[in-house]
Assembly symmetry: C2
Homo-oligomer: 645 residues x 2
Amino acid sequence: MGTKPRVSPKKCQDHTVTFLPFDVKVVIPSNTNLLDALRKTTLPIHASCGGKGTCGDCVVQIIKGTCHSKASASLPQKILQQGYVLACQVNVEDNLTVKLPEFEELSIKSSIDSHFLETNREILSGSSDIDPPIKKLVLTLPSSTLEDNYSDFKMLEFEIKKRLNINTLDCEYSVLKNLAHSIRENERKVSVILLNIEGTWTVIEVRPYSSKHGIYGVACDIGTTTVALHLVDLKNGKIVSSASSINQQIKCGEDIISRISYAQKTERLQELHDLIILTINNLLDKAYQSARISPPDVYYLSVAGNTTMVHLFLKLDPRYIRESPYVPTVNRAPVILSRDLGLKMNTEGRVHCAPSVGSYVGGDILAGLLCSPIVKQSQKVSMFIDIGTNGELVLGNKDWLMSCACSAGPAFEGGGIRCGMPAMSGAIEAIRLDERGKIDYKVIDSGKPKGLCGSGLIDLLAELFIHGYVDRSGKFNKKKIKDKLIETDLGEGFVIEKGSMSFWGRDLVITENDIANLIRTKGAVFSACSLLLKNAGLTFDQVDSFYIAGGFGQNLAIENAIRIGMLPDLERDKFQYLGNTSLIGAYLILLSERNKDLVNALERMMTYLELNTEPGYFNEYTGALFLPHTERELFPSVERLVNLK
Amino acid sequence: MGTKPRVSPKKCQDHTVTFLPFDVKVVIPSNTNLLDALRKTTLPIHASCGGKGTCGDCVVQIIKGTCHSKASASLPQKILQQGYVLACQVNVEDNLTVKLPEFEELSIKSSIDSHFLETNREILSGSSDIDPPIKKLVLTLPSSTLEDNYSDFKMLEFEIKKRLNINTLDCEYSVLKNLAHSIRENERKVSVILLNIEGTWTVIEVRPYSSKHGIYGVACDIGTTTVALHLVDLKNGKIVSSASSINQQIKCGEDIISRISYAQKTERLQELHDLIILTINNLLDKAYQSARISPPDVYYLSVAGNTTMVHLFLKLDPRYIRESPYVPTVNRAPVILSRDLGLKMNTEGRVHCAPSVGSYVGGDILAGLLCSPIVKQSQKVSMFIDIGTNGELVLGNKDWLMSCACSAGPAFEGGGIRCGMPAMSGAIEAIRLDERGKIDYKVIDSGKPKGLCGSGLIDLLAELFIHGYVDRSGKFNKKKIKDKLIETDLGEGFVIEKGSMSFWGRDLVITENDIANLIRTKGAVFSACSLLLKNAGLTFDQVDSFYIAGGFGQNLAIENAIRIGMLPDLERDKFQYLGNTSLIGAYLILLSERNKDLVNALERMMTYLELNTEPGYFNEYTGALFLPHTERELFPSVERLVNLK
């Protein structure tokens, strides 16, 4: 008898690194640098110091697996203990699960509810009875006899028609499959789920009656950067849980145009589609878990998003949105089966997307208009301004509506700004400088700051300008704030908070580059407002109200938005910040068929102004690239203040 | 270095035997008898001699694999050469593919067309324009401009509405998915497929225009024993090919009741469902091949079948059809996606099932009524009699309709009769005896006879009775035909043809047992006619016309059907044999939405009489179990003839 050979697997070992929340996996040889592993993915992580361990940009959290961070890591001890490391300082020697903390769940404030009530009482007035597209009936069916041996479905149909007082009733094939048993299991007592599509009711489910069986719907805003949803009890319209996160498509491009470019190849359209479905399914999971609800009880998803996001959600090629004459495949998509999209809902669930006006004014805007009184007013004229990664504007009243879009860029959602971040836990949402340059700020959920969200950035820019720390063109007044500037790899930067006081242990800094980005964004918004009004033959002071929507954060300081020249210098009480109107609009559509009809009517009545082909656009835009504007007389109150200082 | 061990696989070997056309597989040890292998399946093959090689019942054809038939096989040499063997005489020593020749494809005679034209000119009159639920439009869409940059779908919608002169248009989600490319691939020229459901048109497909792209529909009769279909060009209503076969469910039970029993377990309902889908898909394949058409060009399937067959086709539990108070799940199923049933058609294809009146009067009858003038007549009263495995009767006119059903049994389709077979190639379809007992017969497609189909059996029984070879109770008059009788394992039998002259080389024989079966069937039909009339307060001579439908074969001899007492003894010109009305009815529904509406109206107006609970039923039935009837005065012309002989 011989001896068995001893197999010694001393081969070059590979490790798998999984990056959350995207669930992106890479397989790399042992001892690869974690930042290099990250670079193999398309995840939007940059290390501005080039991997020297100094900038702190590549901070990640180790969720699973063992690793040793090099001693040179510049993270505070307390943060290290929580599993945070700088990716550039880690060599991978194990399978790792790594979380990219910048992309962790964004919180939707419950204050949306109060916002909602505040701004929508008028819309909802007279409709304390909600009227969702899904209804549940509990019926006890009469027994058949030899004389009246109606089919099971005829018995059901008769009772439903009687209860709803309707003449026509459709039925899904799936209902029939188990109907005989569903009727007989609990002594002919059944729960019936009915779907209303344009006035026609369809039976989509019959179950043996059980008191545990609820009916829920979901309102979802698909933003280019963030996705947010509410899980809603359709019995009473109550929001039972909410969830939001980054749109996982972000790794394929930060704005609409780059997503469309990315989708040019068929497989990549599939990839973008899969990523948004994954994002939504993850959010549904979270919402279900937190409300202890199971997917089969969820029958309807009301979606609002811009035209490109809705195209990617429905897997429609968005290519022609970008090519002249800029046509989408569809503005008003039919109601779709949720199973056709692979969504975690009841298999007979339905999906409705708010209609769009065209390629650049989407369902997010039309849904959002439901949240403002603009479409109720008759003589007054109002303006609705939604600033996300793209900016969209609507002008008019209940008799006429005119809209346009501008490429605002993601600056106010934290994109392209070194210290920027979405309006989530740890973001500075408000900031103030005193005369001596001392900085006071407010952090979402308090604690050490991680970065600045839109409202914080607007505050910061306004304060820097008003105090003369930056000039009208956005350059630092070095004499005045010499001691506040430090050298960075992208030039001088103004220190908002020192590393020792910040969450990540690195300085929170804004550079002239960042300021230029912010100015381009605010300039795009203001010049679009201006052109839209000109095209309507109106001036700013003829506008009665301005409704501002977007993901700036909870407390957009209107005063500061005027000071930087984003909004016009008018009486402050003309402005109202509405929050995430796309999400609230999707919620309103979910609650009531009348709201759905209203949105469809808005789609038909709205005209669209293409800014790119407007002759005056370039002049308007370049004029707005100053603080507050080249034409100082447009901002008298700001000028008074600046001259006062 | 050692020597490799020689692996010698001398284990007990298994063989796989595949039985066609059912594609049923069994794995058996080498040397198993082929008849025993057959018995392991549920295929309806019996060997009345018990496997001695004498009865010839177990004849099969070897399609693939080698086998040696024992020398004792009683098949003619010529038949043996064609690969036919007696299963009981073969021991399996190879993997075999075996065809059960009794179940090979049934032929539908092209004469159905002339039948159809003859009987339906009235129904179709004034409708030379067909009006199918599927329409194709060829459109060239205008180009979008910057000023009118309508979405692709809006452009399409506008053109369709203009062309069809309609206000509402629905759209399937799948259409949108490739719309942008379909429009642009062939310079904005597209083929559009539209579906009409209850007056609302839905776009179900848009392709770049190609002249090769046709639109086809299928009419299908799902019988308990046989399934038949026509492939129809929906541009002109022309039947381009036809196919028919045994219903593969037959291995799970020969009649409706045994199928329902079989389906009691869930997996078996699935099995029955799969078998009918397989049967239809095989027929579709044949029809497509013969017409050189591909599945994506086929958009609609119009089905007619009895209530149980439709339930199994739709995978609905048929259990309560059989249990008092005999309720089906549904009478009028919604139009269903063909992909939900796994049918080989366009993935957006639709399936319509003719509605049923109740558990025992199905869509086959309602569709069949379209083929008779009964529903057009106002004062006259007619009777429609459809005899398949079940018998269904309808009495009335365009103002009122009354129906009932009886368990006729499959005798007239060849079931339960030793020499019986469906009306396919090789069946004796007409037979005559002369005074000296000499037999003259006609074989479908000529050649040596394989057995007798329904019309042949009716002829045979009538001739035997009229010539006094069998008495009124169906017993042989042994004195008169002593020389024609031989001994069989089931008692004495009358020889129709000797083995040397028959296709299978075995005697074609009818026994008293077979005759009793035939008498039960004809008795059930006559007593049902009789009771239905009594319930309507009418007598036989008040009925103006009798329309006979069923799978007897092409030439049912009305005279002989009266002589055996199946049909009443009235003027012969009152009777008309219509053929397979279920299939023609499905075809008429496919051709025209008006026919669909008419069938739906028939469903609503028809009342159903439950014979089982009728007090007089048993008496009526037992009275009819004689030739022609216990009450001789009911059949005066038959009595005159009998007395004459």
